[in-house]
């Protein structure tokens, strides 16, 4: 890993921490908040790519583990990594990796804006929603004993917000590939 990759990973982790400053929205029927930090999954994957993006999230998880309150609402500590949202948090890492892989496949610098946007949106939905929900819901259902049905139904509440995040992230990623392309230089 080059020093530049190391710095990009750290700076993106700092952006994820920054997203955590936006207060989370708590829902009554499911012990998982709506948080801006899940947008970081889409941003990281689409902007710095699969490997560096996933490492940025791992760095954030390390900070959570040693007790730094870097999750939304000032939460942190090992307990969270055993709590009801842990599946989503692990999902962030895998989801970023998948978002990055899909984006690296679909998006080229030479494409038109619309194609790039579509590519980023598809990548964000597959990695940032599909993969994250898969791991998040599975953990929530089986480990907290909520049951798969309730977990799936409850998670539907995240869909509108997450689609909006995918939209914003795609537009931002497109602006960045125009203004400061990083994705093509894979790590």
């Amino acid at each position: 890993m080059t020093t530049r990759d190391l710095v990009l990973i750290a700076l993106f982790a700092a952006i994820i921490v920054f997203l955590g400053i936006i207060p989370p929205i708590t829902l009554g029927f499911i012990p998982v908040p709506i948080t801006a930090q899940s947008m970081g999954v889409m941003l990281a994957g689409c902007i710095i790519g699969a490997r560096r993006g996933a490492l940025a999230y791992l760095l954030v998880i390390l900070m959570v583990a040693i007790g730094l309150p870097v999750l939304s609402g000032g939460r942190g500590g090992l307990a969270i990594l055993a709590g009801p949202t842990a599946g989503f948090i692990i999902g962030w890492v895998v989801g970023t990796f998948v978002t990055g892989l899909v984006a690296e496949k679909l998006v080229r610098e030479s494409q038109t804006g619309v194609r790039q946007l579509t590519g980023f949106f598809i990548a964000s939905v597959i990695g940032g929603i599909g993969v994250v929900y898969l791991l998040g819901i599975a953990w929530l259902a089986f480990v907290t004993g909520l049951g798969i049905e309730k977990a799936v139904l409850g998670s539907l509440a995240f869909i509108p917000g997450d689609l909006l995040k995918a939209g914003i992230a795609s537009l931002a990623a497109r602006a960045i590939i125009v203004g400061y392309p990083l994705l093509p230089q894979r790590a």
């Binding site: 602006a175 960045i176 125009v178 203004g179 400061y180």
Partner: protein, 226 residues
């Protein structure tokens, strides 16, 4: 346009960045000088409402920067100390057009006005360039174009010749000279303000000299020598 400070002061937490000040500025070319941290940027930001007075009022062309915030923003354009922080869209011409789009102009008019301002600054060749790849001098000119395209009555420039070579300095200086607007310039580069009508000297958050460039610059040199 009249810029009036009425017993205006600024505090950040328990630090006083600007002590109470009463002053009227009407001249077309005003220089602002002083040591690092003396309050120059704070003073200038009061004028377009980016900083709100902790006490007193600031009136720009009769409008209060607090009560009429929205209209004051349109009157006074501001070029930041680090203008690369001011460019928001990734491509030069998109950034310049952005300010206009938002005023609800038609696409043809936006294109036309963007092209005109780029030509006027002699930077038409930069239209499709990435904002983040511009050199220091280019960034300064693009920031000026992106602010002036919205036609403010007052233009405030915070250290516009930072990092620029002699040639670009001369270019920025002559561009400033050619503006019809009222212009305020903050600078450590004293040659930039030596032909101005009025120069203000700040020290420790206080206005300590106010007059012609000759006398105020001499005063500043004394102050810096201690």
């Amino acid at each position: 346009m009249d810029i009036r400070f009425a017993d205006c002061s600024v505090r950040f937490g328990d630090k006083t960045a600007l002590h109470p000040l009463t002053l009227t500025l009407t001249e077309r070319r005003i220089g602002i000088i002083g040591l690092n941290g003396s309050g120059k940027t704070t003073f200038a930001r009061l004028i377009n409402g980016l900083v709100k007075p902790s006490g007193g009022h600031v009136l720009v062309g009769g409008l209060d920067t607090v009560a009429d915030e929205k209209r004051v923003f349109g009157k006074a354009g501001f070029i930041f100390q680090n203008p690369q922080h001011q460019l928001i869209m990734p491509i030069v011409e998109e950034d310049i057009a952005f300010g206009l789009k938002n005023r609800g102009l038609k696409t043809t008019e936006i294109t036309e006005r963007t092209a005109t301002i780029l030509a006027r600054f002699g930077i038409s060749h930069l239209a499709r360039r990435r904002v983040h790849e511009l050199s220091g001098g280019e960034t300064q000119l693009v920031a000026m174009a992106s602010v002036l395209v919205t036609e403010p009555d007052i233009l405030i420039l915070d250290e516009p010749t930072n990092q620029l070579d002699l040639k670009n300095r001369a270019l920025v200086a002559s561009t400033i000279e050619s503006l019809e607007q009222q212009v305020l310039v903050i600078s450590h580069d004293l040659s930039l303000v030596e032909d101005f009508e009025r120069v203000l000297l700040f020290d420790g958050g206080r206005l300590v000299a106010d007059g012609t460039p000759g006398e105020v610059i001499a005063r500043y040199r004394e102050l810096a020598a201690c």
